[in-house]
């Protein structure tokens, strides 16, 4: 009886949404299976973690208050006064960090497998744009609990933005909503975090996922195996397995290492020693710290920031710069460049935490 009810519902929806065509397309989708197809899972993991962020973020919206006098207290209330508030908030904070880490893994694995080559240039570019967007998510979200660390990390970060030549001070004012961090900043960052960035990011995610679905998975250059498995349900089940394991990890982290509330921000107190931005910014932060004050009479810091911007632009355009990959040939030069960049990021990040006063 249940089965015929289900059939009736299905036929009703299919007549109106024309789902069968979509289902037919989906049934035919396959995913290559070879020695390196393990890396295919990371995209799905990023998508899954994004969904978790949207869900937990939406739940946090219910109790959070973006007012300077109430932000910190509302987070405290979520952690202590709301049933499972501690869990929702800790999941949101931990997953944010894990997600950005997974995005780096996904980006570098796609890079080394040259997945960006024709016809997947737009997939690569939308992906890189998403990484930048999610780092902006992290930066804006970090201020919302309005604790000491977040206040001063924001101050340091926006000061760096402000030091850009020509547009620096204008940019800083626009980001902060004024000359310094204030209620305007909190409102603005809240708007970035729950309205502007989600709309842009979800649009890009849709573009990225549609491209992956229409173009299929890229096979590494020189991979000769022809084995394929169906996307539905085989690959999905494997995806789900990975997602389940990550959920277990997040759960353990949240119970044993719940995210701290911190002390309420006091703009009049002095910057805490050793203030750092979140870990995914530290490689850039430490680079700025070790760069010499002047290079050929130009300010070292400004040069470094411009260097990052230029580097980012080149990285974005890699699909068009890597001619050999475009032609389907091995491209060791770009592999080495990617390796150097990955090592650089890891080393600079580790240095930030191991060297006391960089």
């Amino acid at each position: 009886m249940g089965k015929s009810v289900a059939r009736t519902v299905w036929e009703f929806l299919d007549e109106r949404f024309l789902i069968s065509d979509l289902v037919g397309f989906a049934r035919k989708k396959t995913v290559p299976e070879h020695g390196r197809s393990f890396w295919y899972f990371f995209g799905g993991i990023c998508l899954f973690l994004t969904a978790i962020q949207v869900a937990t973020g939406g739940l946090l919206l219910l109790y959070y208050s973006p007012q300077v006098g109430a932000a910190h207290e509302s987070v405290q209330f979520i952690m202590g006064g709301v049933k499972f508030g501690w869990l929702i908030r800790s999941v949101h904070s931990w997953t944010a960090n894990i997600l950005i880490g997974m995005m780096f893994v996904h980006m570098f694995s796609s890079f080394f497998l040259k997945a960006y080559r024709k016809p997947r240039e737009l997939t690569w570019m939308s992906g890189f744009a998403l990484l930048v967007l999610f780092m902006a998510f992290g930066f804006s979200g970090y201020l919302l609990p309005w604790n000491e660390l977040s206040y001063f990390a924001t101050r340091v970060g926006t000061d760096i933005a402000g030091s850009l030549p020509l547009v620096g001070s204008w940019l800083k004012t626009v980001i902060l909503g004024g000359p310094d961090i204030s209620q305007a900043t909190l409102s603005r960052f809240y708007w970035f975090h729950v309205a502007l960035l989600p709309v842009v990011a979800l649009t890009l995610v849709a573009v990225h996922v549609i491209l992956v679905q229409t173009l299929g998975m890229s096979k590494p250059i020189g991979e000769r195996g022809t084995r394929e498995i169906p996307f539905f349900p085989d690959f999905i089940y494997k995806d789900a397995l990975g997602w389940t394991l990550i959920l277990v990890l997040v759960g353990v982290l949240c119970v044993f290492l719940p995210w701290e509330i911190g002390t309420k921000a006091d703009p009049l107190s002095s910057t805490p020693l050793g203030i750092k931005p979140e870990w995914y910014f530290t490689f850039m932060f430490s680079t700025l710290k070790i760069v010499p004050a002047h290079i050929f009479s130009l300010e070292g810091e400004k040069l470094a920031i411009l260097g990052f911007l230029a580097g980012g632009l080149l990285w974005l355009l890699v699909p068009f710069l890597d001619r050999r990959a475009r032609r389907g040939e091995r491209s060791p030069l770009f592999t080495w460049i990617g390796l150097a960049l990955a090592v650089y990021i890891v080393v600079m990040t580790v240095l930030t935490y191991t060297v006391p006063r960089l």
Partner: protein, 141 residues
Amino acid sequence: MKRRSAIDLFLGGSLIATIAAFLYPVVRYLLPPKRPSESQDTVVAAKTGELAPNSAKVFRFGSAPAILVNTPEGKLVALTAVCTHLTCTVRFEAETETLFCPCHNGRFDLGGNVLSGPPPRPLETFAVTVSGSDIVVSRRR
């Protein structure tokens, strides 16, 4: 794959259990908590008539104590009760109409100004409004 196998049942069952394990905290989270979160910038410190003239009451304001004083003339003033010297809680001394810190004899007037003793800074004052039968204390903006 039309035939329902043991593995399929196992899969379906554990999926339902997983979904339930996630729905339970979310539903509990959404149900309104018992103590509503108040803004930590405004607090009902007392009811009208609770304080006799020339007496005071210490109450919680945010995460720190504050003091509401009913002056002999009947005026209501509210200040932080955290002494600016070494954070002891000050008390109201009716005979001298001053705020007195018992730890090192710091003394403040009812405007928060330091009269004597070691405190380096005056006490922050708060705004007091009477709303119906509530005496509401809020931070000055």
